[in-house]
Structure formats: C-alpha cells, structure tokens
C-alpha cells in the first residue's frame, strides 16, 4: 500500500509542478483581467501546498520517520508566513514573485530534508528570521526612500572591508576562501557584498553618467575582482563582473560592452585555467569527467550519474543516491532534485527560475526612479546569473564554479540575502512603480 502511495505521489507531483509552471508563464503571455489573475495565483498556492505535502508525506511513508512531519509542518509554516507578509504588508506587490519564492524555497526544503535533516532545520530558522526582517522593508522604503541613493561611499567601504576580511580571516574549503567564522557561526560575507555592490553601482551611476564615472566604477570592480581572485572565489568574481557589465550596459546603452565582456571572460578563463591549479582542475573535470573520475572529475561524474540514472521521472525520494555527490546540498542541489524528483521536475524548476528572472526585469522596467530601477536590474542579473552558473555546473554545460542555487541550496547567508533581494524588489515596486502599471 505504501508503494502505491509513493508512486502515485511521484507522478502527481510531476503533474502539479507542470501545471504550476505553465500557469506562471500564462500570466506573462496573456493580458488577463485582474480577477482571472487572482484566481490563477490562488490556484498556484494550492498547487504549492499539494506538491510539498505529497513530497513530505511520501518521505514519511517511506522512512517511517516522524521527524520529517515536524520539518514538514514548519516548512508549511514558513511558506504561510511568506504569503501573509507579502499579501498583508506588500499590498499591490507581485503575487507571482511571492509564489515563486514559496515553491523554490519549499522544493529546497523538501530536498534538504531528504539529504540532511539538521541542515533543513537550520535552513527553516534562517528562512523564518529572514522573512521577519523583510517585513519591515516597505516601512523603511516609505521613510527613507531618498537616503539609499546617497550612501555610495558607505557601500564601497563596507564592501571592501568585508572582502578583505574574507581574504585575511577566511577558511579555505574546496580550494576557495569563502566563509568567516564569527562566534561559531560560519557566514559568507561575499553574499552581502553582492547586494552592497549593486547599490554602490546604482548610486554612482545615479549621480552622473560620464566616462570618468564608468571608469571609476570599473576600477572599483577590478579591485574587487582581484581580492576575490586572491581568495580563489572565481564564481563570485564572475558574478561581480557580469553585474558590472550588465548594469553599465543598461545605463550607458553601449552594446559593444556585451561582446567585449564575453571576450574578457573567455580569455580570463583560459588564463585562470593555466595559472590557478584549482581552476584547471575544474576545467579538466568539465572537459572529460570520466577520465579523471577518481579525482577532479568525481563530483561532476556523480552528478551526471544521478541525473542520468534518475532520468525523466526520477528515482523517487530516498530511492536515489544523491549523497554520493560531494557538497550536494549546496553547489549540486539541482542534481539531487533531478535524480530523485526527475528531470521533468528539474526542468520545471529551471523554468520557474526563468519566470522569476523575467519578473525581476519586468518589475525593474516599470520603475520610474532610475536608482531603484538599476538596483532591481542588478539584483535580477545577480539572481539569474547565479542560477545559470549553478545549474550549468551540475549538468556540465559549463565548468563547476561552486555557486549555490538561490533560495534552494542550503546556506544561511545566501538565503538571507536572496530573501532580502526579493523583498527589496517588491518594496521598490510598490513604492516607485509607474502609476499606469499599478
């Protein structure tokens, strides 16, 4: 009987997430009446609750572990909290964005519970705290709307300070210095620096848009990249670079920046591959993982074994071997989703992330105030590029960069900052969007 339930649940979950994904694009492509949209969003909420319930209940049925029910309860609690905060405080915000946060965070919780219950519990606590903090953002925006654009030196100094702190006091893991331990809690300051850096660029460009300013911003970026390169955190360096190029392109409207940037990335990758051992290892692993399966290629081989063996429908929760992939709950959580929930679900997750990214850009577009438009755009680029890097690394489209999946992967700093980004986007949106689009 348990077997019947677990299998039925597996196929139902696939059907539910497909429905959800289709709906999240329908909203884009058709101009529905407000009331139609509202029904659609309510349906999505039901789909999220059903999807997660089936997942958590089939895990409980399979393992007979009551603790999963506790995590299930709290996950639903945090998701309900997200819904309440965004519906009550962020009135007239984007409900679709809120739903996407819920399903991405929820799917992450589902897989984390499967992989490591202790990590899942910590993730829940940080999630709840983050949502609590972000509840005050609209109030802050209302009060201090004009102050944020003036603090460009604060952003710069704090960012540089945090980066240097990582470089000097950071712990090395998997070849890169990323985290700093404060009072026993390991935090990753770079996550916060990403956000500060976006604010810095927007503030600088808001003041003036001269060549001198572009070069000044570029110089600061190069300095940041050098510090990150010294800490061997190439994934973050790449993200900062892309944010700089994207935002500068949007502000200065020079298309030539895009191919130039692509060229620089390729040259830098070849150079880094030659000079930095830990990068060349990742490139070897990317080119032919099976040839170095005992060594550099082990992680990506296991990831592809998982995705390939799980195939379209997935092995079912607890029936695959995602734990054979090193750091699966962080850099390779997408592989765990694909292995056990199936590639169809994984593709839906990509599409939901794409839908989220489109929302970022679309909401940025609707903002009249250029400072907030550029911050939103920068956050969109940051989010979208991280998703691309992490999934591309899991499926071997690009070399693995050690970047985590925002909202889905385990990691407190990343979760807090990502929730903050989403909340900022919503609060900018509700306070500064053009009147006609309301």
């Amino acid at each position: 009987m348990t077997g019947v339930f677990i299998q039925t649940a597996k196929y139902l979950m696939i059907a539910l997430i497909i429905t959800y994904t289709v709906q999240s694009f329908l909203v884009f492509f058709r101009h529905h009446a407000e009331n139609v949209k509202r029904i659609l969003f309510k349906e999505q909420m039901v789909l999220i609750y059903l999807f997660l319930s089936l997942g958590f209940l089939s895990m409980t049925a399979y393992t007979d572990d009551r603790q999963i029910l506790v995590l299930f309860g709290f996950t639903l609690g945090v998701i309900t909290l997200i819904q309440l905060v965004y519906r009550l405080i962020y009135v007239h915000g984007s409900v679709l964005l809120c739903n996407h946060m819920c399903i991405l965070f929820g799917t992450g919780m589902l897989v984390l519970t499967r992989l490591d219950q202790a990590q899942a519990a910590r993730q829940l606590v940080i999630g709840a705290v983050s949502i609590g903090i972000t509840a005050f953002f609209p109030y802050l925006m209302f009060k201090k709307q004009d102050t944020f654009r003036k603090w460009k030196l604060v952003y710069l100094i704090v960012s540089a300070g945090l980066l240097l702190l990582v470089l000097l006091a950071g712990k090395t893991s998997y070849g890169a210095k990323i985290s700093v331990s404060i009072g026993g809690i390991s935090i990753q300051p770079v996550e916060l620096v990403k956000l500060l850096y976006i604010f810095f660029l927007a503030a600088v460009y808001y003041e003036k848009q001269t060549l001198r300013i572009a070069i000044f911003a570029g110089g600061c970026t190069v300095a940041f990249l050098l510090i990150l390169a010294a800490a061997r955190d190439l994934g973050a360096a790449l993200i900062f670079f892309v944010i700089y190029v994207g935002m500068t392109y949007a502000v200065y409207r020079k298309w030539v920046l895009l191919p130039a940037a692509a060229g620089i990335v390729v040259v830098a990758m070849i150079g880094a591959g030659k000079l930095i051992g830990h990068v060349s290892n990742r490139i070897i692993a990317w080119k032919n993982p099976l040839s170095a399966i005992d060594d550099q290629g082990y992680q990506i081989s296991q990831s592809l074994f998982g995705i390939g063996t799980g195939s379209w429908m997935g092995s079912g929760l607890f029936m695959g071997r995602p734990k054979s992939i090193p750091v699966v709950s962080k850099d390779f959580i997408f592989s765990a989703i694909s292995e056990e929930l199936g590639a169809i679900v994984a593709i839906c997750v990509i599409l939901i992330s794409l839908s989220t990214l489109l929302l970022f850009f679309r909401m940025a577009k609707s903002m009249q105030d250029p400072f907030y438009r550029w911050v939103s755009l920068g956050m969109g680029i940051c989010y979208g590029f991280q998703v691309f890097l992490t999934i591309g690394g899991c499926i071997k489209l690009i070399p693995s960069t050690g970047v985590t999946f925002p909202l889905v992967s385990y990691g407190g700093s990343s979760l807090l900052v990502t929730f903050t980004m989403f909340a900022l986007l919503e609060s900018f949106y509700i306070t500064t969007k053009k009147k006609d689009s309301r």
């Binding site: 994207g246 994984a346 599409l351 979208g384």
Partner: protein
C-alpha cells in the same frame, strides 16, 4: 567624449529587453543541454562501474537473459517469490564461461558490458506501470549475442583438456560465432569460487585468453614476414631458392626446423607451406626492419583491437639496429613478439576479405522480455590490415598449406580451407604451443575465420589444425 555621452532618453527599455533575451537564451540552453544529455548521452555515460546507482536498479528489475544467435538461453535469472532473492543461472555451465561472464565480483564478459541494458526494462508499458504501483519487479531486457551454439560447442570440445583459446568469426560481418578459453570455470558457482580463482595466477582461469591471452605467434607470423619479403622483391620473389638442411646459423644463433627436419630445395611457397624456419631466418636477415614494423602495426600489433569485451594489445618490436639473432627469431614468430588469438583471427579474416578485417563484435542487440527488438548494439565496420593484392597472394599461399603443407589435416572436399600452422616454443626444453589460423568457405554459406592456440600441445599441424577442422566441420557439415 561624444561616444560616452549619456543618452537623453530616460528609460532604458531596449537594453532591458536585450538583457532579458540574453538571459532567457542562457536558461533555454540549460534546458536543451539537459534534454540532449538525457535523450542521447546519458545511457552510455551512466553505464560505468563507478556508478553504484546501476546496482540499485536490480532492486526494481529482474536481470534480463543472455541469448545465443539462435535464441538459446545462455544466462537467465529466477526470482524467489518468498525471499525476493534472485539467482543467476547458466544452463551451459562452463561452456560460455568467459564470453558471457558474470555480474558479480567485479563483473566480466557480456554480463559486465551490458549490465545497464540487462537491468533496464522495455517490457510492456502497461505491465511496467502496474509494477510501479504494486512494487513487483520488471523483467530486464535481454541481450542477443552473435554466438553460435554449434560452433561454440565444437570449439569447446576441440580444445579438449588443453589450456588455450579458440576464436571463430564470420568473415563478412565480424560476428563472433565461438569464443572459448581454457582453463574455465562454472559461472553458476562464481560467488563461491571467485576468490580462489582470482588469486590463482599460475592457471589464470579468469583470463579470457581469446582476447587477453598473449602468445608468441610462432610460424603463423610468417604471413607477415612473407608479405615483407614480397614487398621488397616485387619482381623476383618467385625466383627465391633455398636449400634447407634443418639448421641455419648466424651471429652465434642456431635456428632449427621442426624436429630438425631437412626440407631440401625450396622456393618461397614451399618455405611457407613447409613452415621452414631456416629458410625464413635466412631471408629475414635481408629485410628492412622498419618496413616490417610498419606491416605489423597495420596488422593490429601494438594497437587496441576494437571489441565489445576487454582486449590486450598485441606486441611487436624490432629496432633498426637489432642483432641478427633477434631478427632471425622475430621473423619466425619467436623473440619478443606477442599476439592475441582475436588479433590473429582478424589477420586471417583480412586475407579472406581483400585485406580488410571486419570489426569484431559479440553483442548484437537488445530485446525486451518478449523478444521484441529494442535496439542494436552491433558495431559493424572494417579495419584495413593489408592491400587487396597482398591478401590475394597470401590466400594462395594459405591454400597451399592445406593442400600440400602442414595444414593437410584440413584438406577436404566438403569445403575449401586455408590456413597456417604455428609451433611456438616457449621454453629452452623445446616445449611448444600449437597454433592454427585460417578460414574456410563453402558455396551458400558464410566464410568463417578461426584462430586456435593450444598451450604446450606440440606442433600446430598435429594438434591445432585438427582442432580447427572439428570447428569447420561443425559449421559446414551440419
């Protein structure tokens, strides 16, 4: 400054659209790459011994069967309803031991190479859906091999109690009809016997000698020596004359003919058909070692032979400054040269096929539990081993061996046989391995090629050639 002048228009709508399109394209690339990987590449990628997930598939699937080319079941699994334990059964016990192999203890043979297919099911979709809910196991796909039970049985009998190997393949396609290696073992009891067998390096029972056994080729190597001589003397090789006294001496090294027999006056064909060592040692000293090495490399020495099962590389070396002694030994197939039976089979197949050896394969196709075709695993193709002229010349020489020389055991009206015997000494006492390589044809039937190696049996003509005849008879006279 003009280039960097900030545009007057306030909203960067176009730039946002460009960024949106770029990112959307990148995300779609992710999806396309994932779909392509799953649809086309994942099966071969995940079929890797490092992928422990494959073994987990056996919890959902009863391992499929392995068949001979006529549908004879060579391996199948039974599932105990009560304990849910699977048993792997090999009805022919030792007969197919090395080629079919086993799926445990590091795996071997067809069982190892097709592990993934055997644990995947393409059975009736409705059945599979039902099983998904009831938790019953699906029946894995079957593997149809190219093995011919009649040929395999004959080869097994022909090898008798000798250690060694026999490889038989269909010349036009490269399908392996028979592959025997001895000493052998009973795969039904491999779990119990594996540790003993694996440690016994003296008899090396688990080694598939047909593909991984490396032997001095003995006189069978004279095919290539003959070719090189003809290449260097294209006009007058037919005028070659030699008087054999049973012995030949140079550089302090003495070469003997078998049993010191004096073959008397010979031309090149006689030397070849009599397998006259002294004649070849003498003509070998005139040869260009570099050219000979090239001929050997083309004939699959020092190269990986493409095949479904693991193979060893054959080995040939002859430096340009090699001593006379070394050259004399090498040209008669002694010395450092080592050949595998599979490679020697391919050389003879090439002689029969205008110089082009077929790419050998033993795994033909995947079928579901009802025998319906799922996909082909046959790897057809050819390997160029020698020119068509060379092949037709050697073909005539190999025919003479059967009609007038050391291969007379195979002279019959029932089919036309071609061959070359070999007697490879492997110790100072003069004990020798018996070799035979050759092929045969009969109108209306496929040509088949064979390599026989019988360790320590004695001369090729009195042991290996009759063994080859047994196999040819089984194929052409049934």
């Amino acid at each position: 400054m003009k280039f960097w002048k900030f545009p007057k228009k306030k909203y960067q709508q176009k730039e946002l659209s460009v960024l949106t399109i770029l990112f959307a394209a990148a995300f779609l690339a992710l999806i396309v790459y994932l779909v392509v990987f799953l649809a086309f590449e994942s099966e071969s990628f995940i079929n890797n011994p490092y992928n422990k997930r494959i073994d987990a598939l056996s919890e959902k699937t009863i391992r499929g069967s392995i068949y001979a080319n006529d549908g004879t079941v060579l391996a199948y699994s039974t599932n105990d309803e009560v304990t849910n334990e699977e048993h792997r059964i090999y009805p022919y016990a030792n007969l197919y031991a090395h080629v079919v192999g086993f799926p445990v203890n590091g795996k071997m043979g067809v069982e190892s190479v097709t592990n993934f297919e055997l644990l995947h099911s393409h059975s009736n979709v409705g059945e599979r859906l039902k099983h998904a809910f009831t938790g019953e196991k699906n029946i894995g796909d079957g593997i149809v091999t190219t093995l011919d039970p009649t040929v395999q049985d004959a080869a097994y009998q022909a090898l008798g109690n000798y250690r060694g190997a026999i490889v038989v393949l269909e010349v036009s396609t490269g399908r392996i009809l028979g592959m025997v290696s001895k000493p052998d073992f009973d795969p039904n009891y491999i779990s119990e016997t594996f540790s003993i067998l694996a440690e016994d390096n003296e008899s090396a029972t688990l080694l598939n000698r047909a593909t991984q056994g490396r032997y001095a080729p003995g006189s069978t190597f004279k095919l290539l020596t003959t070719l090189e001589y003809i290449h260097e003397n294209p006009k007058d090789y037919e005028d070659y004359r030699y008087t054999c006294t049973g012995k030949f001496r140079s550089d302090g090294k003495e070469i003997h003919c078998f049993h010191n027999k004096a073959h008397g006056d010979e031309d090149l064909v006689d030397s070849f058909t009599n397998s006259c060592n002294t004649s070849f040692a003498s003509l070998g000293l005139t040869l260009d070692t570099k050219e000979l090495t090239q001929i050997c490399n083309k004939a699959l020495f020092n190269q990986k032979v493409p095949f479904d099962l693991p193979t060893e590389k054959s080995y040939f070396t002859l430096a340009s400054d090699a001593s006379d002694a070394e050259i004399m030994e090498t040209v008669i197939g002694q010395g450092k040269t080592l050949a595998t039976p599979l490679q020697m089979t391919l050389i003879t197949a090439a002689v029969d096929r205008s110089g082009k050896a077929p790419r050998p394969y033993v795994i033909d196709r995947v079928v579901n539990d009802e025998g319906r075709f799922v996909k082909s695993l046959a790897t057809e193709g050819t390997i160029s081993v020698m020119s068509a002229e060379d092949a037709s010349l050697l073909k005539a020489y190999m025919r003479d061996v059967v009609t007038d020389g050391t291969g007379r055991a195979l002279n019959t009206d029932a089919y036309t046989a071609y061959g070359k015997t070999g007697t490879a000494e492997y110790n100072a006492a003069g004990d020798s391995h018996a070799w035979f390589i050759g092929f045969a044809n009969q109108p209306g039937k496929e040509d088949i090629a064979i390599a026989v190696i019988m360790e320590g049996a004695g001369s090729g003509s009195s042991f290996a050639a009759p063994a080859a005849k047994t196999v040819f008879d089984s194929y052409y006279l049934k």
